[in-house]
């Protein structure tokens, strides 16, 4: 569903590429977690799939559609949840969901939209309140509801649990698991090793624009993952 083929991004004047020859594939029902320090190229990868930036070389494919050549069609298959889901403060969660669902070319009744919000874990009484009063966790839940309502086939997550309390982060991980079971392909960028181990079917560690290592989630325990991550991060052998 999501495929990067020799995907490279060089910014003008930068000494090294932000992303260097990335090859990865996320099938339906897979959750691929990209770990790595700041500047490793994780968010660049997400932006390239969304065609918010253009690749210097290579291709980012969504359901076989090149995101550079046909960004509208490729985005139609995607849902995107950034670090903080940005919504319209004057509108309620339900109105925001209604808006984002409709502009993505879908339609749903108010009761179905409320069900999506409930499924994403948003309390019913909050759904009609202006989102300017929402916590970050509540906003993320609206983001998940948007992904559900617009029947996205692939989900891009960029640090989705950053700043969430452990309970909210755990709730979020549960939602990702449900989406995976529903057949969604998920590419998640995170610093959170626990979340990666909890949700992922595959885990990749990025360093300096390269995908340095890839593990199957069942192939590695938490301690080994942390060690591999720190080794790449520090450049020294951590025991």
């Amino acid at each position: 569903m999501l495929e990067a083929i020799r995907l490279t991004k060089r910014y003008e004047g930068a000494p090294t590429p932000a992303l260097d020859d990335l090859n990865l594939s996320v099938a339906a029902g897979d959750v691929f977690c990209l770990l790595g320090p700041n500047g490793a190229g994780k968010t660049t990868t997400v932006n390239l799939f969304l065609n918010f930036i253009q690749p210097t070389e290579g291709e980012a494919l969504v359901g076989g559609i090149n995101s550079l050549r046909d960004p509208i069609a490729s985005r139609a298959k995607l849902a995107y949840i950034p670090e903080t889901v940005m919504l319209y403060g004057a509108l309620s969660g339900l109105e925001n969901l209604q808006y984002f669902t409709k502009v993505s070319g879908n339609d749903a009744s108010s009761s179905d939209l409320l069900s999506f919000l409930a499924l994403a874990g948003l309390p019913l009484e909050a759904a009609t309140r202006p989102v300017r009063d929402y916590s970050k966790g509540m906003r993320q839940k609206v983001g998940v509801a948007i992904a559900l309502a617009r029947r996205a086939q692939a989900l891009l997550l960029d640090e989705p649990t950053s700043g969430l309390d452990p309970l909210a982060a755990n709730e979020f991980a549960g939602l990702i698991e449900k989406l995976r079971c529903d057949g969604m392909a998920v590419l998640m960028v995170t610093h959170d090793l626990f979340l990666a181990k909890q949700c992922a079917t595959k885990i990749g560690i990025m360093s300096a624009g390269k995908l340095a290592r890839v593990f199957g989630a069942n192939e590695v325990d938490h301690l080994s993952l942390e060690r591999a991550y720190l080794n790449l991060f520090t450049g020294q052998e951590v025991t």
Partner: protein, 492 residues
């Protein structure tokens, strides 16, 4: 979960999808506008200010209309009651022609305060209009009163720009643009949806003014000089023109918002444009138009007429032209002396002098109006870039308060003056047997009192084609600019 996912439907038809997206954008934008208390307050302020301007304008117009009707009646009484006298003396006694107050002038007073309200119709002279209301006002009044037209031309665009400048920069700064574009929303759809919502705001601003004005026109009740249906159609066309004018500002705001790096930059650019359009361009372009199509000063104009008039004989029986005329008449009637003529020579003399005067006045007044027309054309031409230069003549034309409407009135008044001259001269020619001939009230009453029927809407349409073209061009230019601006809309 799967069950729920199936409950949202992907809209397959392209047109249905597009209309669904546009309705979603419009609904969301209107919701946000409605919930923005500052915007609601500002919009209400503009509507109330415009309604107040219309109300004050209407009250003032009604007063002026009553005064002019009373003055015209009094003047007619003076004319018919002047007693027995020589008809030419009556022509010198003269009449006033009062310009009826255009019903729509309460929206746009146009040039009315500066060009005078009446013409003194007397023998031998085509006078200019006099009694300019601007002269009686203080400095603030002379600089332009607060009319509904001024509010719509100057203040309403500011509101539209203040609403639209953050349309894309705000979405970018808040991160919602990233969210929207990630959903596959086309920037052009966003643009059109936002523009349509601003158009609804424009209609909300203009509709109360149109409704209020329609009631005012209907209650103005002057069917002698104006047609009610004509005035209502003029009002609707004016409203459409203002909608076009403000729509251009909406697209301009959207375009600048799409290309600007941040909201501050967009606001500064748009405010600079607003200042140039509202205050700088009208003065600068007017000066340029004056230098390309200069008009004489009042003194030069009168001197030029006086110079030409000096070539005619008037009452001067020693003038060479008089001698030529006298010989021509004696030859025509085959007599040797004036006393032997079968008609009154003095009447013929007056008639010939009037005819000569008409040609001189027509030459100078039409040349002056030609210069005004050229100036108007030049002033309207940059209207596609600075739309106030197009909406001003458009609005005045349909309000019946532009210089061409004034010219039409002066032509009608002059035709009436000539009618008086011809009637009295003919009376002298046919009935006077000596210089002590007098005529009475019968003749004064036979000469119809001055009446003026305002030209129909076709007159305004015919003279507004350039302004209409420039207004349409302004909207086209801003739409193209906005479409080009959003083409490469980036969320980062």
């Amino acid at each position: 979960m799967s069950q729920l996912v199936l409950n949202s439907n992907l809209i397959k038809s392209n047109s249905a999808r597009r209309s669904n997206i546009l309705s979603a954008i419009i609904t969301k934008e209107l919701r946000e506008m409605y919930r923005d208390r500052r915007l609601v307050a500002l919009s209400l302020f503009i509507v109330i200010l415009s309604l107040a301007a219309i109300l004050f304008g209407f009250t003032e117009n009604s007063r002026l209309a009553r005064e002019r009707v009373a003055a015209a009646k009094a003047d007619q009484l003076l004319w018919t009651g002047q007693g027995a006298k020589n008809p030419h003396a009556a022509a010198h006694f003269g009449q006033y022609a009062f310009k009826p107050v255009s019903p729509l002038s309460f929206i746009d007073p146009g040039v009315n305060p500066y060009v005078g309200t009446s013409v003194w119709l007397e023998a031998h002279k085509q006078n200019e209009t006099q009694f300019r209301s601007a002269r009686d006002k203080g400095l603030a009044g002379r600089l332009g009163g607060l009319s509904a037209a001024y509010i719509l031309q100057t203040i309403a665009p500011l509101l539209i720009l203040l609403v639209s400048f953050m349309s894309f920069t705000g979405e970018r700064e808040n991160g919602t643009l990233r969210q929207l574009l990630s959903l596959g929303v086309k920037p052009a759809e966003l643009l059109i949806g936002k523009a349509l919502s601003f158009n609804i705001l424009i209609l909300v601003l203009i509709f109360p003014l149109v409704a209020f004005s329609a009631i005012a026109i209907a209650s103005f009740n002057n069917t002698i000089n104006f047609s009610l249906s004509d005035q209502l159609v003029r009002l609707i066309i004016m409203a459409l023109g203002y909608c076009l004018y403000l729509t251009g500002f909406a697209f301009l705001g959207l375009g600048f918002s799409a290309i600007s790096k941040n909201s501050r930059a967009a606001l500064i650019s748009l405010l600079a444009f607003w200042l140039i359009n509202s205050f700088l361009a009208p003065r600068l372009i007017t000066d340029i138009a004056r230098s390309y199509a200069p008009t004489p000063t009042a003194l030069e104009f009168r001197s030029a007429i006086a110079q030409d008039k000096a070539k005619t004989f008037g009452h001067d029986e020693t003038h060479p032209a008089f001698v030529l005329f006298r010989n021509e008449i004696l030859k025509k009637y085959n007599v040797a002396r004036i006393e032997d003529l079968p008609v009154n020579f003095r009447g013929l003399q007056l008639h010939r002098d009037d005819e000569a005067g008409y040609q001189i006045f027509d030459k100078h007044f039409s040349a002056l109006q030609e210069s005004f027309n050229r100036q108007d054309w030049l002033r309207t031409a940059p209207g596609f870039l600075f739309p106030i230069l197009a909406i001003t003549p458009f609005s005045m034309a349909f309000a019946g308060t532009d210089s061409l409407a004034q010219y039409d009135f002066t032509l009608t008044a002059e035709a009436h003056r000539r009618n008086i001259q011809n009637e009295v001269s003919d009376n002298i020619i046919n009935f006077a047997h000596n210089d002590s001939y007098v005529s009475g009230p019968e003749l004064w009453k036979r000469i119809a009192s001055f009446s003026y029927r305002s030209p129909s809407i076709y007159f305004a349409l015919d003279h507004s084609l350039e302004a209409i073209f420039m207004l349409l061009s302004w909207v086209a230019v801003t739409i193209i600019f906005a479409l080009l601006s959003v083409r490469n809309l980036r969320p980062i």
